[in-house]
Symmetry: C2
Subunit: 273 residues, 2 copies
DNA sequence: GCCTGTGAAAATGTTCACAGCA
DNA sequence: TGCTGTGAACATTTTCACAGGC
């Protein structure tokens, strides 16, 4: 009883794994539209999306029976169905918090244009940034956060502040009514029930790649797989691994990293385009 | 028989889901180190990392028995073990391809400093960018890609080019010897066996949030769950959904999007003022 | 008594393989 | 014949719950 109606055809319960792939299918379908392709088979679509065709068919079957046996899927129709399922047939109002290097890149990113998202406001705390015009928007001071979010009906906030400011900014946007947060700061945000958070994190991605890269060579440290517990561990190694960065307070508030490696601070994560 | 040695204690087969979480634990542990915390329980660590404690314990158990019953885990030691497992006790040489808004943000991102990653080169094709100095590095022309990758021993490439250039740049870095790629361009990259690709994609994340956001309101279109197949579909809706953006070629080669709402692009620019 | 490490159960996700419709 | 839609097998991941060491 997740939703009000009694389960129908496609059922309202689409698996998370499927939801995460629908945007990929949609992107491929869009480019097929551009190339004037009218129909596509699960095999072709799957190949272009980088998944196996059985998986693609099962994914699409969760939305309903939108294909034609012996033929394939009609591109336009499928685009419409997936868009509708993802909620892209309506507009979502987005606010970007933190206008540093990353925030600028995001604000200037035409990808929001991928229909469905409208960046309505940019916020920063630094006087040297507030008032600046970026991609057609004037950067506002975070003091205006609550009022602007309410006025504009922002429902998605993109947090692109330094790690130290992320949680407090998150708390504020949530208190102001935002129910979805996309976090680019390298911290684990905690939010109340009912609020969704997704994170994008460059250093995590790099570390995962490093893990596999190491495997291609040969096990951890590229040496013996470490048999016993204490093995080659020495207290002094702890120091080599100490100079942390992450959650370290930025002393200040909302300046983005990059320019000056202020103290030990660094980080501010990832991104996207 | 994944690796050469016969399975030992921790076994070389760490689940992917676990690998993806280790960096998060590591980040939390680093901040505990900074705060001078010497020991932590699975409950505390899990809470800070935003996961359930049973999951955390199982994850760590894949690395070995590094905890003490009745006590918890020694922070320094765990940092060392996770770092080693992730391959962060050695340095990985990184190259960033594409120095647009995003590439700059990435290049200036101190997060690489999180030990283990060293940005050794920046590449772009635009004459107006080549030669520029960013974060201590001089931007090189992509013609030098192959030679620099070989010289510097780059093993991880970060692709921050427009969608249209991504696959060809990927092919080149792979041919030059790179075996791990972090892709920020909105395209599905295809690579030969043995090469790892991870993607970071803003619009996909936003779309996933939109899906859940829509659910909080009420089903697709916020209207009837669409009973029959043809339902409210009309051909004209196809047009509303056509003017794609994403995979659309940028005509040029390596300029980042944002500045010029090239052609059909919408939103972003016009919005607000 | 407290907290780790882990079997076993449950849930989720993937792949196979084929029935059945166009 | 060709390709979708889907049961059923398989694989992975999560969660439970508790045995056992400190």
């Amino acid at each position: 009883m997740t939703r009000r109606h009694n389960r129908t055809r496609a059922d309202r319960g689409i698996p998370e794994a499927t939801v995460a792939r629908l945007p990929v299918y949609l992107r491929v379908l869009h480019s097929l539209q551009e190339r004037g392709v009218a129909t596509v088979s699960s095999e072709e679509l799957a190949a272009a999306a980088g998944v196996n065709s059985a998986k693609l068919r099962k994914d699409l079957s969760h939305l309903g029976s939108y294909g034609t046996r012996g033929v394939g899927y009609e591109v336009d129709y499928l685009v419409y169905q997936i868009s509708r399922e993802l909620g892209l047939t309506q507009d979502w109002v987005v606010a970007i918090i933190g206008v540093g290097n990353l925030g600028r890149a995001l604000a200037g990113y035409g990808g929001f244009a991928s229909r469905g998202f409208r960046v309505a406001a940019l916020f920063d705390s630094s006087p040297s940034v507030v008032g600046e015009r970026i991609s057609g928007l004037t950067v506002r001071h975070i003091d205006e956060l609550e009022s602007v979010i309410a006025e504009q009906g922002v429902s998605i906030a993109v947090i692109a502040t330094p790690a130290a400011a992320a949680q407090s900014m998150c708390d504020r946007v949530v208190a102001a009514g935002v129910t979805s947060v996309l976090n680019f700061a390298p911290v684990v945000l905690s939010v109340p029930e009912g609020v969704d958070v997704r994170k994008v994190d460059l250093s995590i991605e790099l570390q995962i790649l490093a893990f596999h890269e190491q495997r291609k060579a040969g096990g951890p440290g590229d040496a013996e797989p470490a048999e016993t517990a204490e093995e080659d561990w020495t207290g002094e190694m702890a120091d080599r691994l100490k100079t942390d960065p992450d959650a370290s307070a930025d002393a200040h508030g909302d300046r983005q990293e990059g320019e000056k490696p202020s103290g030990t601070s660094q980080y501010i994560e990832a991104v996207e385009a």
